[in-house]
């Protein structure tokens, strides 16, 4: 599977986790793609942590409003019923448990639900932005990422990079499968069509518990 198809598959699977009425914050990059696959029969409100709910699609040519940007600083549109607010309210929404789910990328994630996604010391230090608050405050934290970094496992026994948050990850969705962080450990709940278990185990450093009820990801 090429990277584009893999990312689409991940986004499509995560969209199925969302429920009617949910308030959801999507990170930049792959997580943003989830918005394209939200089922038509449910209504999901997207939050943009720079200060609004009701985030819409990317603007068409001639539709750009310089005053409406997303958390990556890119021009976006808003839907009818949207609302703007300041950064204190925005993070009150996030820390206060008013965000039902957040979808974020990861550099590393481990079997205790720890997440590292904001810096590589000495190399990449962009800052955490809103990620630490989101991971601490959202009711459900979903990680969207390719299973490995060029073959090197990203799902580990223990994160090595500086942590974004401790024990807050609930679900990891990759192009190979769906893994849930449980009190007993990391459980493989679903496997992608055509992928064999060996391939997942090879690409995973964490101890992976195979669910008794292992399913194939439904497209």
């Amino acid at each position: 599977m090429d990277s584009k198809n893999a990312k689409e598959m991940i986004a499509r699977r995560i969209a199925k986790e969302l429920k009617d009425g949910d308030v959801v914050n999507l990170g930049i990059g792959l997580p943003t793609m989830v918005a394209n696959y939200i089922p038509e029969d449910i209504s999901v409100t997207l939050q943009s942590e720079n200060g609004f709910v009701g985030l819409g699609t990317a603007p068409k040519d001639g539709e750009v409003d310089k005053d409406i940007v997303n958390a990556g600083g890119q021009p976006v549109t808003i839907n009818q019923g949207a609302a703007f607010f300041d950064s204190a309210v925005s993070f009150g929404i996030i820390r206060g448990g008013h965000v039902d789910a957040t979808v974020l990328g990861a550099l590393e994630v481990d079997q205790q639900g720890n997440l590292a996604n904001f810096m590589v010391p000495g190399k990449m230090v962009p800052g955490m932005g809103g990620a630490m608050d989101l991971v601490s405050g959202a009711k459900k934290v979903i990680i969207a990422m390719l299973h490995t970094a060029k073959g090197a496992p990203k799902i580990l026994k223990k994160c090595q990079l500086p942590l974004t948050a401790v024990g807050k990850v609930n679900l990891i969705v990759t192009e190979l499968g769906v893994m849930e962080v449980t009190p007993n450990g990391l459980v493989l709940q679903e496997i992608a069509p055509g992928v064999d278990l060996e391939e997942i185990l090879r690409g995973t450093e964490a101890d992976l518990i195979i669910s008794d009820n292992l399913k194939v990801i439904q497209d």
Partner: protein, 217 residues
Amino acid sequence: MNKIKDINEVVEHIKDGMTLMIGGFMATGTPEGLIDAILEKGVKDLTIIANDTGLIDKGIGKLVINKRVKKVIASHIGLNPETGRQMNAKELIVDLVPQGTLAEQIRCGGAGIGGFLTETGVGTIVEEGKQKMKIGDKEYLLELPLRADIALLRGSVVDKQGNIFYNASTRNFNPLMATAADLVIVGAEKIVEVGELDPNHVMTPGIFVDYIVGGEE
């Protein structure tokens, strides 16, 4: 009291070594005209409190690339690689703060609140040097308020009394910073007469604002 001033007059208040809060998010809602005036005046060794350091050629990025900044307190510096370069070369001190914590620190600074407890950052490098408190079975970090010498805001519509309306996502940190500095200057996209701005639409009451300059685009 006439709050409307010439931009060259207001930047006289900004001096070497001061701490400035600057509104905006990736330069959206940042007063570009005020930043240009600071550059022109030649102020240096500034401490900047802001969400981010803008882009290389936009917003706070212009102050960084022209080496006017000695310290940055921000949540994100990734869109302006020059900030990271100066940080790695030890030319610039950068304190990275989670965005929600930064917003609340500024709100507290302006609201007379001595600090607040948050779960954000517990178990991460953010907790280094901070007091941890256990309330019930939850662990929190004690975060302290932030204030500045001067806040630079960008308003979409500002009346002559300093009442501000911020359009769309330009609001972000601006109304918080308006409350948390000794001197508050707003760069206005549009200045209107008192009475033209519906009091229901005022997001920063004019009592917080000292000076108004025009010319924001």
